[in-house]
């Protein structure tokens, strides 16, 4: 069943671009990560530091990402990141993104697409920094529908 789709918009800035005057690609992942969190915030999921207290959940780190870069973008552009949950699995889920830019001649251009596998993570006990996956709480899944 399809989840909600939430749109997060960003302005591309001069410093986001490289000497070829196009967005330096790691910045797309910066924006996608913001869109991922924004998705949950817009669905009504509490911020991670509150979930840490109530559920021990500290965030939704990435375990796998696959991105296609279709058109370049540059500073002055506004990009729209459309985020949804494509699939819930046991301890992981697939978050899907389509990044578009309004086309002045009408419609919008697809800039990039990305499918991520993320987990709900709890801090692992002990001195070594680390995380472990936990099952997505049912109430969080319901908020995203």
């Amino acid at each position: 069943m399809a989840s909600r789709e939430i749109t997060y918009s960003v302005r591309v800035e001069f410093g986001d671009c490289d000497p070829a005057r196009i967005v330096w690609f790691p910045n797309f992942f910066r924006w996608i990560d913001a869109a991922s969190r924004h998705f949950f915030v817009e669905c009504g999921v509490p911020p991670w530091h509150e979930l840490a207290k109530s559920h021990g959940i500290i965030g939704t780190p990435l375990v796998d990402t696959h991105a296609k870069f279709i058109k370049t973008a540059s500073y002055g552009d506004t990009l729209h990141i459309h985020a949804s949950i494509a699939e819930w699995r046991g301890k992981s889920f697939v978050q899907r993104y389509r990044v578009t830019r309004d086309n002045p001649r009408g419609g919008s251009d697809l800039i990039m697409e990305c499918d991520e596998v993320r987990i709900f993570a709890a801090q692992r006990e002990g001195d070594v920094p680390g995380i472990r996956a936990v099952v997505a709480p049912e109430e969080i899944r319901r908020l995203c529908e």
Copy 2:
């Protein structure tokens, strides 16, 4: 036929980590992009601004990336990014990365893996910033073997 493998090492810094005290994942792509360019530099390929003059090539932008995150890393770690060319295609190529960390008990831990499709790009003429793919020059391919 296998290409050379070149290793690029980075120190993980405090500011590379997020509130969960692990590397914020877009930074892995920052380092992988550096390892990509470093691969060509170590193989003897001239810097992009020289290739821009001789071949019109301004860099090797990404068209597709697929990454798996296996273990977390944190500040104080040194990571080794092992880069190679897994495949040459017409106007694109597959660049492969394995990111490892020395294990104090011997051997090394695999932190992440990534396969990228990149192109050799030339600036597209005209007012709109953009790029187009060009066939990888034979002399560049030979340098990477």
Copy 3:
């Protein structure tokens, strides 16, 4: 004579914060640089790649910056960056920023302040990448008043 004041707003994201769960300070400079360019855009100054053709100006690089960090910020915050030109000098100018956050109990909190000296820069001729300062065009100064 005072210039216009232009406000640029940013959302603080999870990845902008460090393991102490506060904004990692280089990100403030990222936002301030965006606010600097945004100031000129809002005043009607053409984008740098157009000015490069008409005036040879490629941007307004920084020569000196002085920032005070007054309160911390964290993800979930929206910050307002109020930018103005405090002073025009021959080949340089002082751009001033006040970063505030709305206080839920009324008013706003001052998060940081910054005074920058910037120049209007042209690409220096020759093989070595470099820049040189040029006098701020009178029409640009007038647009900012």
Copy 4:
């Protein structure tokens, strides 16, 4: 009395540069922050997450920074960041940086200079993320001499 001087070296990468093909300045602050922590590590000060347990100290956040940008740098450059403690004050200290680049014709070029005021910070109790300054422990000061 002068402190030790510790040098931290960084390679400038393609993605660190902006469309003017020079280092985008917030990256200098990224490297300076790394050099700041590196200074303490090289002096034998334990990592912040250990000091958090022994002294409640979570890092050395910035309260004031003043930087001068003297020469530009670009990708392919290796920069050397020379860090020292210029002054100890009650709950703060001045950390000083000189960023140089080897000149192929001999000697080295000064790229930028920066003076920072930092504090030793402890996490503030309560729900609101925040920090408070603590007096620099005498044993840490001694390690830096």
